[in-house]
Amino acid sequence: MVVNSIIHILQTQGNDILNSIGQHITISLVSLLIAAVIAIPLAIVLMKHKKIAEVILQITSVLQTIPSLALLGILIPIVGIGTVPSVIALVLYAVMPIFQNTYSGLTTIDSNLEEAAEAFGLSRSKKLVKIEIPLAMPMIISGLRIAMVMIIGTATLAALIGAGGLGTYILLGIETNNNALLIIGAVFSAILALIFSALIKGISKLSLKKIGIIFMAVIVLMGGYFGYKTVEKPQVSITIAGKMGSEPEILINMYKDLIENDHPNMKVSIKPNFGGTSFLYKALKSNSIDIYPEFTGTVLESLVKTNKDASHDPKATYNLAKKLLKEQENLDYLKPMKYENGYALVVKKSFAKKYNLKTVSDLIKVENKIHAGFDPDFYQLKDGYPGISKAYNLEFASTKTMESSIRYKAIANNKVNLVDGYTTDPQIEEYDLVALKDNKEFFPPYQGAPLVSEKLITEYPELKATLNKLAGKISVEDMQKMNYQVAVKHEKASKVAHDYLVSHNLLREK
């Protein structure tokens, strides 16, 4: 089954995957080159200064211990999003193995050979080029190989900050429990690591002169490529990003469609499958991106400071979120769409039918038959299971915690008969499930709305009207269906988004 969907994805998204591989190679090679250009000369300079070299080694080792996500988070406000922070992070990681190996390669040369070179009156540079570097070469190469493999592995995280690459597929695969995507991303990056490791090994067999020529050629090619990219790149005036997953990707494609339709002079670039909330929020505040869709509940929960208890009224929640965003961060929160993507209790349709279950309150009739499987967060959060069991006075026969990605599999296979979920999850359609209505409005409302930088709205106030076209549109069922088409059926998000806009008369067919 996985094989079939892999083949399907390769057929429908082959170009995108090739593109990702290209991005991955580019980011990795550029990072490796920069790291090598920093680390190797540094090691050469410091080979006679043991104490300083030790200090540098310590520093590079400390860099190594910074979690990559934290590093990316630090970099966004400073250098923005995309390729630049990814390359910086990768370079920081790659410097250590290259430096360490070059340094120990140069300093562990047989002292007799050093003495001989000295006694024959070789100049410092001749000694370096003819003897020390060639003798240290195996160590330098192994350092480069370690760095390369590490870079290709870590570069998957570049997807989190909009630099693309194979990480897009891996992270999306993890996020949506889609093994086919996961395998595609992982296998291709493993293949890349093998190919480049072998290439570097091959290069090591060449003479120093040839290595120099190859090195220069790669730099010139890279320079040419980036030069071309900067010259060729159209003037982008608006950048829209979205979180990991199909839903944000569909939404940002709608934003793009609407904006480009209403304002033909504007160019919109989209960055789907961006990393977590904090990355997007930082990127928005530092003007690296201009718009991203955010949920009202999330705003109150983690983006703004508030001491009020979460309201259970969607309208009040939105108004509070909009007010606080404006006050605290000077961001504009445009009007929300219709659907709510909040927590829900989900059962099989057949189960609901059998016991005539429509609302959460109805569960009281069958509570001793319920075997629930919950995400660990949901199981513990005040707004999750402890809260809802109290609010509805429910006590289930048994509850288990399980990873969020496998709880749908568990209910599909009748291991449990009730799980927590999000109202728009595509799996609800995929596995023939139904979300029970939260008739007491216990769960905090999660309505999606475009979060926009004030700068953009002041500059182009007409955008407000364009984006507000989606206000009150898109029902839970619509969103569920579109998510299903993209996440499960692997249709293109841009097409699904466009079709929706056209069929709801928000956009004229081109």
């Binding site: 007799n112 050979l113 070179a117 009156g121 003819k130 060639p134």
Partner: protein, 314 residues
């Protein structure tokens, strides 16, 4: 001419003074051997000539010029150097190893190649070795290359730091003959460090015996053998007065391999010099005693005896 004038050397981390007021003259074209037990300062003395080690005080002159006033690189480029551990550069071919100094001296490719061929011929190595790498050669062959690498730029002075101590006795023997031949042909100043008295006497025109950082005696081979200045020199050379020593001494002093039913070359009452004569040509000699037992003696047994008897004990 190389002169040492009241040279001292003291290492930072060591209480002892390595070289104590050394005065020395080495004439052009001499085969000058520095000999002494370990810790005597002979290698330190050698390495001060090409400034691998810097003296603490005193002056070293080459042709009346203080070496500290010479351009270090230029001076070293015109000095040959042979190391104890051979130290051929493993990343370079034999030809590249040999021409490391000529290349730095900017000789043309043709001239460099010619020198390599000439020198390979001279030390009896096949010309096709030029393209090989050091690891493809035996230890003895490698040190031949080590020697011609030191001669390639046709230097006035060649320094050799115990070049044969890591070799097997047969290779050592052959290479000793080779350096004698090369010295006669090329008329350079050879300065040779060894702890082996046999080697010193065999090679040196002038022999300087060192002990704990000072010169014990300096002179020609004959002067030292016939007029040892003191007990130390005498003891150090005693093993060379083997004419009246019997092979029995060797057999008695160490575990020699006993074998049966063989015709012996020598009797244990023969002189050690007779044994040495046979071991020059053969790998071992068979020695019998008055009771008819036969021992197999190798060059190693001889060297063990000489080393034990001649390492300076008074």
């Amino acid at each position: 001419m190389i002169e040492f004038k009241n040279v001292y050397k003291k290492y930072d981390n060591n209480e002892n003074i390595a070289i104590k007021g050394l005065n020395l003259q080495i004439n052009d074209g001499d085969f000058f051997v520095l000999v002494g037990p370990s810790g005597s300062g002979k290698t330190t003395t050698l390495k001060m000539i090409n400034r691998l080690i810097k003296q603490t005080s005193g002056e070293i002159l080459i042709d009346d010029e203080n070496i500290e006033n010479l351009n270090l690189q230029e001076m070293r480029l015109n000095m040959g150097y042979v190391l104890q551990n051979i130290a051929l550069f493993p990343n370079m071919t034999i030809e590249e190893n040999i021409t490391i100094q000529p290349e730095s001296l900017k000789w043309t490719k043709e001239r460099r190649h010619k020198v390599v061929m000439d020198l390979l011929d001279k030390v009896g190595l096949p010309r096709e070795y030029a393209k090989r790498f050091p690891r493809e050669l035996s230890g003895g062959e490698q040190q031949r290359v080590g020697i011609i690498r030191a001669l390639a730029s046709n230097p006035k002075i060649v320094l050799m730091d115990e070049p044969f101590s890591a070799l097997d006795p047969i290779s050592r023997n052959q290479l000793q003959e080779l350096v004698l031949k090369l010295h006669q042909e090329m008329k350079m100043t050879f300065i040779f460090v060894t702890h082996d008295m046999n080697e010193a006497l065999r090679l040196g025109n002038t022999i300087a015996i060192m002990r704990t950082g000072h010169l014990e005696q300096i002179g020609t081979r004959d002067e030292i053998i016939h007029n040892p200045k003191n007990n130390f020199v005498n003891g150090f050379f005693k093993n060379q007065h083997n004419d009246d020593k019997k092979i029995k001494l060797i057999v008695d002093s160490q575990d020699c391999q006993q074998i049966d039913h063989q015709v012996a070359d020598l009797n244990e009452e023969n002189n050690i010099s007779d044994l040495a004569q046979i071991l020059r040509d053969k790998k071992f000699a068979l020695v019998e005693n008055s009771e008819g037992k036969v021992w197999k003696l190798t060059i190693q047994n001889l060297l063990n005896y000489l080393a034990r008897d001649g390492d300076g004990r008074e």
